[in-house]
Amino acid sequence: MQSLSNRSKVVSNKPMTFLERMYLPVIFGGMWITFKHLFKKNVTLQYPEEQKVFAPVYRGQHVLKRDEQGRENCTACGLCAVACPAEAITMIAGERKKGDEDKYREEKYAEVYEINMLRCIFCGLCEEACPKEAIFLTDRIVPSQYEREDFIMGKDTLVEDMNNRIDISLRQMTGKRGEK
């Protein structure tokens, strides 16, 4: 039967020739190959100093966005928690008090919003479910911790800082959202 790739070799069991039994020519051939590798480019990435550039579709740690005036987008509708296949998201909704209009965009907001990063599978369904463009997955890596409790991230880490806004424009261009 003819092979499709034309790369297959017929295995034969014929005895080795004298040169093959001497091992040495083959060994020198192998050593030449490894010698050439001495001068090849290293593939190592020196991690803390050099970091890999993530693809725009990369899904890392979540962010809860604020709008241009610095108000939280999230209205605690719970659609992300429902969409989450890993049940990583929990929240408690609260009513906006008078005078908090510059903090929360709508009358209802999330008093508590927690994502368990150990449960999360970074599928991005919360992002797709969100009607208010409040939650996004970013290109940040979830930092490692010593305690399991520290992986449950609350609003203090998830909500973005106004002085240090997180760019999610690439995320908005990808996937289904880009087609809109």
């Binding site: 091992y23 040495l24 060994i27 192998g30 050593m31 190959i33 490894t34 010698f35 590798h37 001495l38 090849k40 480019k41 290293n42 593939v43 190592t44 020196q46």
Partner: protein, 339 residues
Amino acid sequence: MIIEKLILVIVIFAVSILAALYSTLLERKAAAWFQDRIGPNRTGFFSLLQPLADGVKMFIKEDGIPLNTDKWLFIIGPGIAMFTSLITSTVIPWGPDLEIFGSKVALQIAEFDMGILFIMGVLSISVYGIMIGAWASNNKYSLYGAIRASSQMISYELAMGLIAITIIMMTGSLSLRAIVESQHGMNWNIFYQPIGFVVFFICALAETNRAPFDLAECESELIGGYHTEYGSMKLGFYLFAEYVNMFISAAIISILFLGGYNFPGMDSFSGNILAIMCLGAFFTKIVLIIFIFMWIRWTIPRFRYDQLMHLGWKKLIPIALINLMITGIIIAFTKGWFN
């Protein structure tokens, strides 16, 4: 005289330990280079402090002795391994005489008339370190490793000895210094005994239990081999003894075949400058041979056990014997015994 020798002993032990320390670093670096990696680079310039960090790590580890072991033998084992690998450095001639304050200092601790025999003898003792340690740890994998190591060492010692005899026949002396001195300048034995060199090199690889003959510690079959049960600095001693062994066997290879401390054009120097340059030449040769050891390790996969024995008994020993015979006939002709 005694003080001078004592200082020399300490210096040479320190040098061989230091060389072994840095060959662990070179091993890691070379492995990285051959695999397109960078290797350790976090400890100082060119990670020169890495061996120190490794040593500290070894000392900090828990030093456990398993139940049901022969405690004393378990402790003595690594010591014997270390002792036998260090003691061979006493007979190696490191260079011609140095002149310090008008007195001549021989760069050799003990000028035996039978240095090469001493080395072969110590080499055979070095099996005991491995065997005792493995026997004492009461573990079947350790014992398998030790049995492999000892049978391998015994089989390859024969071919090694036969090649050494050819060199002794050519030189007409058992003294290592005489062997070195007979290869003055570029008159190295490798040009007269190329086959002998290859056989001796292969045997040296097998004697030091290095790849492709590292069957004593092949991880996939025997976990760690003879040092499976060891931890902390006892394990460190075993691993370290291997590197000291490598250093010493590189020195012996360069003495027997590559002219020891001789280098071409050495006649135009004299006195202390010559001695220091000779030392430099000798160490360059040693480092090159160690690098070739590592190069081979990261190139060739491990031999199967039957292949190892086949190679040792059915190939190397006959080759060494025929080589010995031909050398003998040539020497007889040139000396004019048949006239």
